[in-house]
Subunit: 407 residues, 2 copies
């Protein structure tokens, strides 16, 4: 029995991501393919690089896409920058810190972690102390960790890394586009993201940017594969233990030499280009402000429903809030009812927070007033159905008040 | 200056891939997103697995997608099946054999290659002799190598591998869908592909299937990442040196436990599902026959233009033909004219064949009579423009004759 064509149900995705894509991003993916060395493709790739320089706020020439999910770009950054035995410092304030540590361990780095309670971020001084103690090659630091909703301040970290001769990498998957990110001003050497959060696209293409200092490191480990190697191509014995994630090769593929590596995922390139185009057309600061407004409205809205917000709200990402599941309400059943009866998805969390909080996102296309208010009325109905005592209209009133105050 | 929305030029992609996608595959990618644990997503993933069992001709439970290009799936197969120091045998008959060797070298395997001239394939006996000599853990063998157009016969190799206790992996990126592939009957332990050739989709999602024997190998190296590890989860010290490509984790993500790994590339999943659905709706054998017919028509067509075909035609893939560039014709300028004036793309090749042959594909959606004939008339016009003496209408006449004979 061969199934029919796809016909996905209507969904308003208000979880921690993936979220509903911008309609124009979905349309971009249905554009016809062109060959990978077509002049149009070359110019679409160059445009996409330039657009992402705008998104990252960087002049980095080495601003490209990795053909995979956000996790693919994390691995590309780490395996290309870190040699087996190199020390890597990972401050962990949620699940995705563990992920960076895990990926660095797989790369056979000597991984050192420092941890803080879930729901908190690190003061820069604590990170500096750890750098002094560990003397890492690389600091790998999540910006926004969706598992806890926290947004780690990065602005002072680059200077600290520079002073101690440490490469500074940040995973901005969950935060980029919805919160300020200044790759150059903050002294980032590498940063990676995905499309499926505030950028408003599908998972499957992962923006990455590398500073000239990071490019030097990856280029020094260059190895051109046999079969396309030419006279004069030398290879380092210290090569990256991955072909797919070897950033030196990936940069040569995107660079003027256009050296064959993978076959670019054309439709995902189209999507990535459109995500950045939509963002910059609205304006980088304007998009962050829209996320801040929607996030504040959702925050006050859930408080208006009498729910308790998890974590250090002063350091929350704009685009997601974690609320404690009220006593007596079955968290997963309530989420399932929200999905089945209202077509609205919100998220659970991981590890220590699993079953304890819901995570509600307001990101990308869905950082919109109607999406916020609709989610709040539906949540109110579901909470009441499961026996919670909630102020009638309390969520919408509070959220609408935030929008009214901003108008 | 922010560029406008994408508007790709009309292209008939008749190169060695990527090729023009099926229209319904492009449409599938513009379908709205759903959450990654949505019941619809779970069923779309399960349907996709079952559809690819049909495509691969296998009962393998472990039939999934890798979120990346075809090269990503190659790396996932090799790094998950091969430990550092393990011996890997790679028979090389074109560029993609070199790629398998390269990826295995990056994984720190002890790589042994045997080579044959470009344009030839290996007799099974030669592969068996090398197996006896090398005693590899894994045989990694390309099925169809687009760089030479050759289609390596695989049907006797599985038995040989089984007799000698060797795991048998094949890269079927360029061949799957357009040429017979019988994963179970031929004794494959692992096989990988991409969408952008005969499957008629965009690059960016890579089907993979693993035999129970291969699953045992990868599962023995299982390591669950910190952050989502639960009581009772044990980890092997012999873990895969990649998180993204750890097939044990990827299988748990696709399996009933749905253990969080990457965020599935939803739009690419939609595309992959539609590629397989289109293929099985037409019929697996019927699609291969359509490729065989279009390939024969193109072969006779280029011969009808007086061109010389490269390589051992008896072992050519159905879906691509390499023709020697006639003396005096500037290969790249002629290709550029075909693209600029007719919107038709054909390919050049790599390494020893670069500048010596063109490669013309007839695959997926473009394995069609009108695509074949249009390409031949345009090629005739371009050849004549560059001073080649070509029989008037010779290409179309020969190709139409093949179609008429088959009718």
């Amino acid at each position: 029995m061969i199934p029919g064509p796809l016909d996905p149900p209507a969904r308003l995705l208000m979880g921690p991501g993936p979220i509903s894509a911008y309609p124009s991003v979905l349309r971009a993916m249905s554009a016809p393919l062109v060959g990978q060395y077509d002049p149009f493709m070359t110019s679409a790739m160059a445009e996409t690089q330039e657009l992402y320089r705008g998104v990252w706020n960087t002049a980095n020439e080495a601003t490209v896409l990795i053909d995979g999910t956000s996790r693919a770009a994390i691995e590309a950054a780490i395996v290309s920058l870190v040699r087996p035995g190199d020390r890597v410092l990972v401050p962990v304030f949620g699940r995705f810190g563990h992920l960076l540590a895990e990926i660095a361990e797989r790369a056979l780095a000597e991984v050192h972690t420092i941890e803080t309670d879930w729901g908190q971020v690190f003061p820069a001084s604590v990170i500096e102390e750890a750098i002094v103690r560990v003397k890492p090659t690389l600091l790998a630091l999540v910006q926004g960790d969706t598992s806890t909703t926290m947004n780690q301040p990065l602005e002072d970290i680059g200077d600290i890394c520079r002073r101690h001769g440490v490469l500074f990498y940040s995973d901005a998957t969950a935060s980029l586009g919805g919160n300020a990110f200044d790759a150059d001003a903050w002294g980032l050497d590498a940063a990676t993201a995905g499309l499926q959060k505030c950028l408003g696209g599908p998972s499957g293409s992962a923006p990455i940017t590398l500073s000239p200092r990071a490019v030097e490191v990856v280029t020094a480990r260059r190895r051109i594969e046999a079969g396309i190697r030419e006279a004069g191509d030398t290879s380092s014995a210290d090569f990256v233990r991955s072909n797919y994630f070897d950033l030196a090769m990936i940069l040569e593929y995107w660079g003027p030499r256009r050296l064959n590596h993978h076959t670019e995922a054309t439709s995902m390139l189209y999507a990535a280009r459109e995500c950045a185009r939509v963002l910059l057309s609205e304006g980088r600061d304007e998009v962050v402000a829209r996320h801040a407004l929607a996030g504040r409205a959702m925050l006050e809205g859930v408080r208006g429903l009498g729910l308790t917000v998890f974590g250090d709200v002063a350091h929350k990402m704009n685009n997601v809030v974690a609320v404690e599941i009220p006593d007596g309400v079955p968290g997963d059943a309530a989420r399932a009812a929200l999905l089945a009866d209202f077509g609205i998805e919100i998220g659970t969390s991981f590890g220590p927070l699993h079953g304890r909080v819901w995570r509600i996102g307001t990101m990308g296309y869905n950082a919109r007033k109607d999406a916020v208010l609709t989610t709040l009325v539906a949540l109110e109905a579901v909470l009441r159905r499961f026996g919670a005592r909630v102020p009638v209209g309390g969520g919408v009133e509070a959220a609408a008040g935030v929008y009214a105050g901003a108008a």
